[in-house]
């Protein structure tokens, strides 16, 4: 675990690049993490997914899996891959300040 400065704030990340405390997250941080992940601009379509993931995490205490996102946010897997290329569930979790989705145990 190592803190680093992002969007002017000091935030903790784990070895795999996921934030360790979702409460430290804000929208400016999301924009910066997205850039690091190669997503230059967060559009309303991105935010719809991010909002869903944040809300889902509040209810379940964990980042949603890919299937939970497609079912819950009413988005096709194809579109999700366009919005968050290569491993969308992990990428959205990172951008949303959540831990690694637990689909992968």
């Amino acid at each position: 675990m190592a803190p680093r400065t992002i969007a002017g704030k000091t935030v903790d990340f784990n070895d795999e690049g996921f934030m360790t405390n979702p409460d430290e997250w804000d929208k400016d941080i999301a924009v910066e993490i997205a850039k690091e992940e190669g997503i230059l601009e967060l559009t309303p379509a991105h935010w719809k997914i991010i909002d869903f993931c944040r809300q889902s995490a509040v209810e379940t205490g964990k980042a949603p899996t890919l299937r939970a996102i497609t079912t819950g946010a009413n988005v096709t897997t194809k579109d999700l891959f366009t919005l968050f290329p290569k491993g969308p569930a992990k990428k959205v979790a990172k951008v949303s300040g959540l831990g690694k989705p637990e689909g992968c145990v």
């Binding site: 070895d15 795999e16 379940t60 964990k62 899996t65 890919l66 299937r67 939970a68 079912t71 819950g72 897997t77 194809k78 999700l80 891959f81 290329p85 290569k86 491993g87 992990k90 637990e102 689909g103 992968c104 145990v105």
Partner: protein, 410 residues
């Protein structure tokens, strides 16, 4: 008379029914076990079937053999579970069972129909699974006469039962084709939605190196969107294509359909369950064991063994209004068969990933962790005997429930 109902007579259901029938006073409690299938499958054995190792009777036995006489055993499909009414309706004769406590152990199954094209023309022609006995046996027949080509093993999505099984399948395939003198005619490819060979970093590195050493290519972050059995390619959502001559698919795993029908499951029909107590998150008199729950632990037989005692303790405590003492730590212990009479052992839990070191076991061990050895291979094979003759018959297996750092390097 009160009713303790167990749904599913697989590994978890059979073991907990026996345990509870033993612990509960038979003057007050009746234990009922329901399953739709007469046969009990030793699922870890399916891995070896394609390579001609096991005969059917080594992996399939009648369920009744493992159900003690103080448990009422009913063979029937389940029509509906109504947890708010403490009631289950069976398909057979529309029998209604009102329960006081229930354990849901309805397992997980593969769902190839969830992937576009997977069940089209090529299914059981040059596309197989090895997560069902039928699939594994059909693949054995195919491999027996196969002349070689490109074999692609593809995991569709996680979670799957036994996350290491696809790797073991590849290691065994490498050994099998070498033994038949045709390894140079076979290309082995592993297409996985994960970013590496395994989910946890250190094991992923070690297993990734083993793949490389065995000349098995890995295509990571591959999320299959479509199987094109006309062209014999699998296509990912990000438009990558992998051609195959033989596709061995690990299709989407889902919980039982009755869980979905009864409104008890998540998007994959797994029941939301407290990961420490194994109690349903919604209904206090329901506990969910084995593959049926959604806890972030491996779906594997050893995990069930580690859950068994503490779930029984929790149920008994809950019945008398006491605090539940059992806290499951996510403990998993897996032998990873790596071919050529060797295997790797990994031992981990919610908080600690698989590490190197040794796993002490009095009289037999120590086994080496995260490293290939012959003794690990014998451990893996011995497990089948232990399963049929000890675990399912309620005889103590000498593996402690809780994860321990003893012998591990960190």
């Amino acid at each position: 008379m009160k009713t303790f109902l167990v749904l599913g007579a697989g590994t978890a259901g059979t073991m907990i029914a026996r345990k509870m029938a033993h612990k509960l006073d038979s003057h007050d409690w009746k234990v009922i076990l329901v399953d739709r299938d007469e046969q009990h499958y030793y699922q870890p054995g399916f891995l070896f079937v394609p390579f001609g190792w096991y005969k059917p009777e080594q992996v399939i036995q009648p369920k009744r053999k493992f159900v003690p006489s103080n448990v009422e055993f009913i063979i029937s499909d389940i029509e509906l579970i109504e947890p708010d009414k403490n009631r289950v309706t069976l398909m057979k004769n529309k029998q209604v069972i009102n329960y006081d406590y229930m354990v849901v152990a309805t397992g997980a199954d593969i769902h190839p129909e969830q992937t576009e094209g997977l069940k089209d023309g090529g299914w059981r022609q040059n596309i197989f699974d090895f997560y069902t006995y039928d699939g594994a046996a059909a693949l054995a027949k195919f491999l027996n006469t196969w002349q070689g080509g490109r074999m692609v093993v593809n995991v569709v999505e996680n979670p799957i039962k036994c996350p290491v099984a696809p790797l073991e399948f590849l290691f065994l395939a490498d050994w099998y084709f070498s033994k038949r003198g045709m390894r140079n005619k076979v290309e082995l490819v592993y297409a996985t939605p994960l970013s590496g060979a395994f989910t946890k970093p250190r094991a992923s590195t070690a297993l990734g190196e083993l793949l490389t050493r065995k000349n098995i290519q890995i295509e990571p972050d591959f999320m299959v969107g479509e199987v094109d059995s006309g062209k014999n390619v699998i296509r990912s959502y990000d438009e990558r294509e992998i051609p195959y001559d033989l596709l061995v698919s690990v299709p989407t795993n889902m919980g039982a359909e009755v869980i979905g029908r009864s409104g008890m499951g998540d998007e994959l029909n797994f029941v939301p369950t407290d990961k420490f107590s194994l109690q349903s998150k919604k209904w206090q008199n329901i506990f969910v064991m084995g593959d049926a729950n959604n806890i972030p632990a491996s779906k594997a037989g050893a995990v069930i063994h580690f859950q068994m005692d503490l779930v029984a303790e929790n149920i008994l405590a809950h019945m008398t209004g006491k605090e539940m003492p059992g806290k499951f730590d996510g403990h998993a212990l897996c032998y990873i068969e790596s071919g050529f009479s060797k295997a790797i052992l990994i031992d981990f839990c919610y908080d600690v990933e698989p590490l190197t070191g040794t796993y002490p076991l009095p009289a037999v061990g120590p086994f080496s962790l995260l490293r290939e050895s012959t003794i690990n291979h014998w451990g893996k094979l011995a497990f089948r005997h232990m399963y049929w003759n000890l675990m399912l018959k309620g005889i103590e297996v000498p593996l402690p429930s809780h994860f321990s750092m003893l012998g591990k390097n960190n």
